[in-house]
Structure formats: structure tokens, C-alpha cells
Symmetry: C2
Subunit: 221 residues, 2 copies
DNA sequence: GTTTGCAACAAACGACTGTTTGACGGCCCC
DNA sequence: GGGGCCGTCAAACAGTCGTTTGTTGCAAAC
């Protein structure tokens, strides 16, 4: 495959440095996040993964049952925390008369942006975007079943703040905003942090651009 | 992998119906487009692919040299036509004083939407989105080297029509619009064509939503 | 002090991968 | 009519894949 062109000439595959902290399960989850982001779910093999985590090959099947279950666990670990924070932020403002569109978008975007602060969180965002692209029905069902209610609650609040929009119109706009957010947060695009701006500043700029863009896209006449 | 859960209980993998029209090369390209969209570049094996195309396993390496070259050829075949039409449409309006933002977006979006009219074209859109998500540097270099000039020409025209925007600001907005378009055109989102609207109508609605959304996102104060 | 159960390990399993090989027929050109 | 080329083919190559096995060390429970 194309990606393999970047492997070193000798040595079958790059073995990232062994992470020797935490339990076996945690080391596997950490290494899985990195490798799934880099090479995809199929592309990352259990042998690469366990070597990177510094654990035995059989440990994945022992602790998680199968590679598929490991994938689900990688998602669950991050998304539980992420969506909890999103809903908490939404709860603080939902239904209030002074709540603005910016507030709701802030509640949705900020936790994701905070998550992508540290390196492994940023990698997870790429894992998530990859999952969207893979169009895998099993995974989509898993995500919809476990986290669909989050999107529904945000949609309800958007509907309250944009009463002039018909339901199909609102769905369309939310859909397009979602695409823009996924794109931006997974670092697909050409926008990269300049070396002369701090990570914090860059994240703040990203949030500002995203929110203003989303407000415009959602509420245009 | 997760996707394999959907394979039939017996029989190693689905063999799509044999397409017996056209030359061997064309049959391979057609089958590759379908299978790459369904299962990804790594996920689709040459044995599935050649079985679906009704050709011998060795035919891929004979006609294309390798699986990687086949991937490139799948892209080249569609993107050459797509970007030619985009640039032709842009040429007709670029620099003219009466040209609007909608016109430029129309020139960019319409050819892609037309391509995704037939089933195989729509599949290719998913292949393209998958390629973005794969973050594969070799593939990105290939796309940038062969089709980067298209994006540059459109960006220049956007810059002319939005002189009030700083360069970074413009890049940000184009980036976010790109994300929304990719998302929408690859059929990621929740928006699906209702059974009571024709394919043509649905495409027209998609174009309208996309363009109005993009105009709002690009030109908001 | 023995038993029980968890965790880790090397080694092997069968299946599937992309690619290469050498043979075989059909076609055109000299 | 004979010599090349071209496309196709079955078969094999050398790997990698996810998963399973049987065994070990070690700690807590009885």
C-alpha cells in the first residue's frame, strides 16, 4: 500500500518507543490510539501495536477479546468523557432566554478542542474522522447507539434558537457545520499552527474561526 | 475488522457480480472504484477485486504494475475529467467584474455534483474522502502535485472577490468550506435522499444548500 | 501448604496478503 | 510458415494477519 512507502528501507516496520507506564490495558489503549490514527484500523497490526506498547501479542485478545473490541474501547474511553463535558456545558445554557447561538456552539466545540490539546487527544480526533470516512456500518451503529442522544440534544437547542428554519433546512445546515468541524479538528486541511504562535493561542484562534463560521453557516437568511 | 462482521457466514468474502463489459483494464478500474469505496484501499484485496472484475489475479500487476499504481490510476481517471471541467467553468467567469461568489462556488461544486450523479461517480467521491482521511502522505503528494493548481486558481479568484479578508482569514474560511463540501459530497452525513424526490431534484437541492452555506461562511463580516 | 485464578509469554494455527513465475494459446508481421 | 509479442492463466512465493494454545510465574484464598 502507499503508506508503506514511508517505512524504513530495512526493518519491517517502525516500532515506536515503548511506553512503560501504566497497566497493560492502558498501555495497549494508548498505543492503539497512536497507531490507529497513523495507519488506520486495518493498517495497524496487533504486532506493531503490542510492540509499541511493550506488551505481549496475546495481551490484546486476553484483555479485550478481539481487535474489534479494542477499537470500540478506544472510542469509548475518549467519547464518554468528551460527550459528558459537552452535555454538561449544554445543560448550563439550554433553554435560557439569553442563550445565543455562539454559546451552544461553544458548548459543542470547546470540549473537543480541549481534548485535542494534548498530543494523544489530537490523534484521537484523527481516529474519529477516519471512522467517519471508513463508512463502517458496525462502527456507525456503535457510535449512534452510544452517543446519538448528544447530537439530538444539541439539535433541539439549535432548533429553539433558529425557529425560522424548517426542519430539513436546519438538518442540512447542521450537517454541513459538522463536516467543517470534523475537517478542522482532525487537522485535514492546509491550516497548520505557525511556529511563532503558542499552542494555546492557536487553539483559541481555531475556536474563534470555527464558531464564527458556524454561526454564519447556521443563521444566514 | 469491524467491516468483516457483515460478510456472509459462509463463503470467505462477497464476490460482487462479474462485470463483463469493456477491456480488462477498464473492468479492473471499475471494480477497483467500487471496492475501494466500500472497503478502503487496504481493505479491498486484489483477489476480491479481480474476482469482481472477472479477470485473472495477475492482470492487475500486468496492466498497472502494482496495486499502488492501480490506486493512482483510479484517481487520475476521475480527477482529470473533474478538474478540467472545474477550470473550464472558472475560466468563463474569472476576473469578470460582474462575477459573484456564487458563480465561483458553482464552478467548483457543480462538476463534482454532476460526477456524483451516476452510482460509480458517487462511489468515487467516497474514495476521495477516504483518501483525505487516510492522511497518507504519498497520496497527498500525488494529489497536490497533480491537482494543486486547481485549488490555487480558485483561491486566487476568491481573494479577488473578498478583498476585505486577510490572507490567513481567507485560508481559514476556504478550509472550512472544503470540509463541509467533502462531508456533503461523500454522503457522510445524515442527509439522505428521500424516496419521493428524484435524483435530479435532490442534486439540485444539495447544490443550493452547499452554495448558500459556503457563501455565508466565506463572506460573513 | 496446597489450591485457585489471573496475567504474561513463546509458539504455532490457518487464512489471506501482494507479487512473481513460467507455461499456453492467439495474433500480426516479416 | 516461423518468430515475436501480447494477454491470460494456474500455481507458487514469501510474508503478515488475527487468533488460539499450552505453559509458566505469582499472588491471594482456603
Amino acid at each position: 500500500m502507499l503508506k508503506r512507502s514511508f517505512e524504513p528501507a530495512r526493518g519491517r516496520w517502525m516500532v515506536p518507543p515503548v511506553n512503560s507506564s501504566g497497566s497493560t490495558k492502558e498501555r495497549i489503549l494508548g498505543a492503539a490510539e497512536v497507531l490507529f490514527a497513523q495507519r488506520g484500523f486495518d493498517g495497524a497490526s496487533l504486532r506493531q501495536l503490542t510492540a509499541a506498547a511493550g506488551v505481549n501479542l496475546a495481551a490484546v485478545n486476553y484483555h479485550f477479546g478481539s481487535k474489534d473490541k479494542l477499537v470500540e474501547e478506544v472510542f469509548r474511553r475518549r467519547l464518554d468523557a468528551l460527550n459528558e463535558r459537552r452535555l454538561a456545558a449544554l445543560d448550563r445554557i439550554a433553554g435560557a432566554p439569553e442563550t445565543t447561538l455562539e454559546d451552544v456552539l461553544e458548548a459543542f466545540i470547546r470540549p473537543a478542542l480541549d481534548l485535542s490539546h494534548d498530543d494523544s487527544g489530537a490523534l484521537f480526533m484523527r481516529v474519529l474522522a477516519r471512522a467517519f470516512a471508513e463508512h463502517d456500518d458496525t462502527l456507525r451503529q456503535f457510535l449512534s447507539a452510544n452517543y446519538g442522544h448528544v447530537m439530538r440534544q444539541f439539535t433541539a437547542e439549535f432548533a429553539r434558537l433558529l425557529p425560522q428554519l424548517s426542519k430539513p433546512e436546519l438538518y442540512w445546515r447542521i450537517d454541513l457545520v459538522t463536516g467543517a468541524l470534523t475537517h478542522a479538528m482532525s487537522g485535514f486541511g492546509m491550516i497548520q499552527r505557525k511556529s511563532d504562535v503558542s499552542e494555546h493561542t492557536h487553539r483559541e484562534q481555531t475556536a474563534q474561526h470555527l464558531i464564527r463560521f458556524a454561526v454564519a453557516g447556521l443563521s444566514h437568511p
